[in-house]
Symmetry: C3
Subunit: 326 residues, 3 copies
């Protein structure tokens, strides 16, 4: 059985001038810096439309299997080295999933609560070392086993490494911990500061000759329709001038009838081994509200602010509009 | 609810040698000019297949909303700066639509009647200054309000400008008028003569330092299954060596049981300010016939001729085949 | 009516080091040769997911028509020179199909039985001179007529040439013969040895100034759930240093309840006119097994070996995993 669905949004966003997410080919927009030939808008229409599919089936012996994904990703799902979207098979042994999926760490830790119509830079998303990459880096494979609220999750990415996570959840609270190990010589992106609004690329990537690892934990508690969540993770990058990367953050999400609000605070500190190279501190805040109009239609709005020692200026972005779900 | 449908055609087309729409990678085809390494066919199979989706929903308070588009366009619909396909929300306040949609001018003016299986260069389509562009130029937003045969339509494109149209229609006739204004510094394509058959690019584009505008009107009358339509538009491009661009045309479409015929005549005159630069006159004619076989299958044939002072030769193209609609 | 379905697989594959199908962007994988900067895996996750559509309709007079294809191919199906996926119309006159389809030769000759989860290089597929190409080479058109077990099939590819095939099939056996003629000046790929595992490209392509042709025949016999098939073809390339290309092969496929096995042997010999240029001999073997778990789920495994005089080493690849069909 194949079920077709999807979601989308349309609205407007505001951003500081010179923020790359507002770069435009409209030559009537302001140039930042003046005369640079790079045009930026202070505002922009924001728009997104996804159509997705969900396939499910059952074998003669009762194994369940299926696939899911977005139609626009099917091109990258092709061939023996395809990777996008996902396929799963599930039984008493647990669940095996392959494709463009969360690894074992991301599966139990997850992200902080998001804000806004468009995600506003998705600064609520945690850093993980392993994920599905462009071909021919291939898909991620993950094995999950769940019993009585406990989830064990093991992720593998061809040559790049593995991660493992364990979580325990009740209606009232959840805790999770995970470990990621990247193989010697793998290239990882520690932090992509482009999203912060710098016009030049100041992403921190590293080819770690002696590998890299992360230990990360999360906890959440839910009461009176409010969910609080906190995470802390430490990334070690061996054999490079980066010593450690610490990430931590908290979020709150609450629902009051048809209305809901969410907020997060996050920080990432990169500590360099080289004497005289100062730490790079990144901080982000976000606040979002939504109102469910029923039938799949909702009003959503949000604002986010982010700052980094490597970016010239702090960034403020905000958006507002309607989202649809079908 | 998601409804899947689509259309397509298969057939053959004839064109003058050296016409770029008949350029081919088949090295056995004639080279034009001889020895140039550019291969052209005098005939070609023509083929097109679209699969599309239409989504509709209703909120608790009775607002209707939805989305529509082609599956092959979903890649460009992604992300906060996506633009392809479209999303709408509609209520007593009117209808708000965003995506790769007609602006306010195109919505009330439309095109002349088309001909042929493949469109044969689509010379029946009128010129409009504003439309949805490649990312990151983003989507077009349009607001429509309709009451008692009257339609008001306002289109906006991020930084590039706006257009507004008003139309009135009965079963017997329709009239429409629209105004478009492009912001200072916007780049617009006045006329893309590539489609005419020149092997070199002779498109007329302009970055208008002082903006550009168009006034355009259309009228149609329907009697005895025949619809006649006429349009006239004048584009002003400030601060460039182009003075005005005049476009006008007429078309007729008639249905006789399962058979139908259509024809158009169009002309575009570009007037340059520079002394000694002669006007560029473009003219196109088209004639098409179709026969509906029922169930979504039809036979279609057409011929079109176009000529421009900037093209070496006049172009004649013709096609024939079957179209399907599902 | 539009019916949505599809298939996919997930598993693991093993291959000799330095085989391009195991090339990876993972910098932690071995470099072959050492220090070359080209990373290869000895193993790889293999993954593929296709979602497809099948459209069918009937005209008022009883003609049937339709379209079929994969959603990920719809981008190349667009416009007058689209070519991917396919459209057909069928009646007493026979069936006319256009798109990315088998030509008249491939339609009656087919391929040998395949092996493995991912196809393992698809060395079981026969060589044909004509097929649908990238735009603007356009679609292939084919006319088929079938009566009492006899099939006639004529394929045409814009400028590049034509092919014609005739087959006769009963429940017990089938025979088929076909002829392909490529126009003077067409560029054809005789053999693409890249798939064999060489890190440099050693594909044999030829622009045949005086055309090229192939005569190819196939026969199969089925008894006690076992199907044996054999093919032989000879390609003549006029006006180049290639004299003839001979391809031949045999395959066996058998089903035992839910289990099935398949195997093939293939050889391609390229004979050069130039004195002193030795023949290039290519050989491949494959063996596959599958077990149907019901409901569309199956276990599949295979191994293939291939060797060519133009490749440094023989290639061995193997894979194992689950496939889904929905």
């Amino acid at each position: 059985e194949v079920v077709i669905g999807g979601d989308g949004y349309m609205g407007v966003a505001y951003g500081d001038n010179g923020n790359p997410i507002f770069a435009t080919t409209d030559t009537s927009a302001d140039q930042v810096p003046a005369g640079s030939g790079n045009n930026f808008s202070n505002y922009s229409f924001v728009y997104d439309l996804d159509v997705d599919f969900k396939v499910s089936g059952t074998s003669d012996s009762g194994l369940t299997f299926g696939a899911s994904g977005d139609f626009d990703d099917l091109g990258a799902s092709q061939g023996a080295r395809g990777w996008d979207n996902s396929i799963f098979i599930s039984g008493d042994f647990g669940t095996l999933t392959m494709g463009d999926i969360d690894g074992g760490a991301e599966n139990v830790i997850g992200d902080l609560a998001g804000v806004g119509l468009s995600g506003l830079g998705d600064f609520n998303e945690n850093l993980f070392l392993l994920g599905a990459g462009a071909q021919p880096a291939g898909p991620v494979a993950r094995y999950d086993y769940a019993i009585s609220g406990l989830t064990l999750s093991l992720g593998l990415s061809d040559d790049a490494g593995y991660n493992i996570g364990a979580g325990y959840a009740t209606d009232l609270f959840s805790v999770g911990a995970a470990y990621e190990a990247v193989a010697d010589g793998a290239t990882i992106t520690i932090f992509d500061i482009d999203a912060l609004g710098s016009t030049g690329s100041t992403a921190i990537t590293a080819t770690a000759p002696d590998g890299a690892s992360q230990v990360i934990g999360a906890a959440s508690v839910t009461f009176a329709n409010v969910t609080l969540k906190g995470i802390y993770g430490r990334i070690d990058v061996d054999g490079t001038n980066i010593d450690t990367v610490d990430q931590y953050g908290v979020s709150a999400a609450a629902a009051f009838g048809a209305a809901s609000v969410s907020a997060y605070y996050r920080a990432i500190t990169t500590d360099f081994k080289t004497a005289g190279t100062p730490d790079n501190d990144f901080e982000a805040y976000g606040l979002g509200v939504a109102y469910d109009l029923g039938g799949g239609l909702a009003l959503e709005a949000g604002v986010a602010q982010a700052d980094s020692d490597l970016a010239a200026d702090a960034l403020t972005v905000a958006d507002f509009g309607v989202s649809i779900d079908f």
